[in-house]
């Protein structure tokens, strides 16, 4: 069974996404900031990481960078889920090694679930 790490600082969104993914049959672990994300990722070795960018302490971009240079996590699928919609942010995300970049205001919960399903099926 696939394991998803959900990195999101907003409590309600964390609650919603994990409820939904659990209902879809995935195993879900969460982190509320960048530091937690890194320690949890190394410990839990998820198949896919949903990564928020705007977080306290360290930004999602920095987390992504570190994840991609850490042996245990460099091959995980990583989808960025953020409010940042500018093309410059999108390129930054892709250049740092994200597998996909989703803008929160442009996708519904169902869309996200679909993307995750497709990516984990690959």
């Amino acid at each position: 069974m696939s394991k998803i790490l959900l990195v999101e600082d907003d409590t309600a969104l964390r609650d919603i996404y994990s409820t939904r993914f659990l209902a879809e049959g995935y195993e879900v672990v969460t982190a509320a900031d960048g530091e937690q994300a890194l320690t949890t990722a190394v410990k839990e070795k998820p198949n896919l990481i949903l990564l928020d960018i705007m977080m306290p302490k360290i930004s999602g971009f920095d987390v992504l960078d570190i994840l991609r240079t850490t042996p245990e996590t460099k091959d995980s699928k990583i989808i960025i889920m953020t409010a940042l919609s500018q093309p410059s942010d999108m390129s930054k995300g892709r250049n740092l090694g994200a597998d996909d970049y989703l803008v929160k205001s442009q996708v519904t919960l169902t869309d996200v679930v679909e993307k995750v399903k497709v990516m984990l099926a690959e």
Partner: protein, 413 residues
């Protein structure tokens, strides 16, 4: 003998009295003349004084140039707003003193001189509040201005009068307002996303058990949440447009393919109302020629933004039609592709057409509330088209449907 004496005396008296009378009359006349002259020169002073009082009192800056564009007058408000004393700059060319620039620091005086403009048209011209004039001692001052030609009796231009107003405060208020809208919109995004998320979870059978009625209402609630999400997104787009911070990622792409894609995504909406959606394409000779030798015809613009434009226009056409359908056609000439979105809907009356591309303008509050309009869609659409180097316009009559046209620059590979 006594008789002669009396006669003589009487004569003398009469003559003396007459002389005095004449002298009296003369002096009275002089007094009148004197007073008239005094009055006349007083009149002049009052006139000049009145003009001076007027110019001094006007809160807007006023300056006058002669036919060679040398400054001949600055009122006190103009002195204050430019930092110059009238005496310092009288006789100097207006452009070297005012040094008007636009938002991108290009010289308005050099490229688009309003004085030359008003002489050419013969009427007053204006420059809107994106103009900056050069203050002697500090930063440029944001102003709006008008220029009127001064003519002699033969109708020749002998000068121009310019009136300008400091818009700095107004702009600051606008900027604060836009910042507020932007902050508020950002703050709204997360709770709206959460709302949408929770609603979709409740309606999801894998997580909650709900009956058909509940599912029906939940779908409506979900759509409302999605509508709110769109509104917030539009508000943010508008503030970014105003701020000119919006980024365009221009590429060459096939307009036909993009339109076909958009039509496909709106097919369901059209089907629900039993309306047809038709895409036609006509080619100009030049285009056929290019295609014949294997070149593809693309437009050069930001693909995602143009998709927004197409989506907005076609969705509107569907929303405001109850029967018939929507025709979309693309035509090409040498420089531009023109897209026409034509509907068989309720049409748009003339007085509404004037305002329809304005921010927050809603033709008729009841109709647009029902169709979910926010008054921002066409404003954003026009901004995108114009910033892509195109134009947008419409033809319509109440009750006879509407045709929206927009153009985009072509890029031939």
């Amino acid at each position: 003998m006594l008789l002669w004496l009396i006669l003589g005396l009487s004569l003398v008296v009469i003559v003396t009295i007459s002389i005095f009378f004449v002298i009296f009359k003369l002096s009275k006349k002089q007094k009148v003349d004197n007073r008239t002259l005094q009055e006349i020169s007083q009149d002049n002073n009052v006139h000049q004084n009145q003009e001076k009082i007027l110019l001094d009192a006007i809160a807007d800056g006023v300056y006058i140039v002669d036919f060679e564009r040398n400054l001949t007058l600055l009122n006190p408000a103009a002195e204050k707003m430019t930092g110059w004393n009238a005496s310092e700059v009288t006789g100097i060319k207006c452009w070297s003193v005012m040094n008007l620039k636009d938002q991108k620091d290009n010289s308005v005086c050099q490229n688009n001189c309003p004085v030359l403009d008003c002489w050419k048209t013969g009427k007053y011209v204006t420059r809107d509040d994106t103009c900056f004039l050069h203050h002697k001692n500090k930063n440029n001052v944001q102003i709006s201005s008008s220029y009127t030609p001064l003519k002699d009796n033969y109708g020749h231009n002998v000068g121009a009068v310019c009136i300008f107003r400091d818009e700095t405060e107004k702009k600051e208020i606008q900027r604060q307002r836009d910042e507020f809208v932007s902050t508020a919109s950002h703050e709204l995004r997360t709770p709206i996303t959460a709302l949408e998320g929770y609603i979709s979870i409740v309606g999801n059978d894998k997580i909650c058990q709900t009956d058909e009625k509940a599912k029906e209402y939940l779908e409506k609630a979900h759509n409302t949440a999605l509508g709110m999400s769109t509104l917030v997104k539009n508000l943010l787009t508008v503030t970014r447009i105003e701020d000119t911070k919006i980024q365009f990622n221009k590429t060459a792409f096939s307009l036909h393919d993009l339109v076909a894609q958009t039509v496909e995504s709106l097919q369901m909406l059209a089907d629900k109302k039993n309306l047809y959606l038709r895409l036609n394409e006509t080619e100009s000779q030049a285009y056929s020629g290019e295609r014949a030798i294997g070149r593809s015809l693309n437009v050069f613009a930001d693909k995602d933004r143009i998709q927004e434009v197409l989506y907005n226009l076609i969705e509107n056409a569907i929303k405001y039609s109850d029967e018939g359908g929507v025709d979309i056609s693309i035509s090409y000439d040498h420089d531009f592709a023109t897209v026409t979105v034509s509907d068989s809907g309720i049409g748009i009356p003339g007085d509404v057409q004037e305002h329809i591309f304005e921010k927050f303008y809603r033709a008729d509050n009841t109709t647009t509330r029902e169709t979910g309009g926010t008054g921002l869609g066409l404003f954003i659409t026009r901004s995108i088209v114009e910033m892509s180097g195109g134009k947008i316009w419409l033809e319509s009559q109440a009750g006879k449907g509407s045709k929206f046209y927009f153009t985009l620059p072509i890029r031939i590979d």
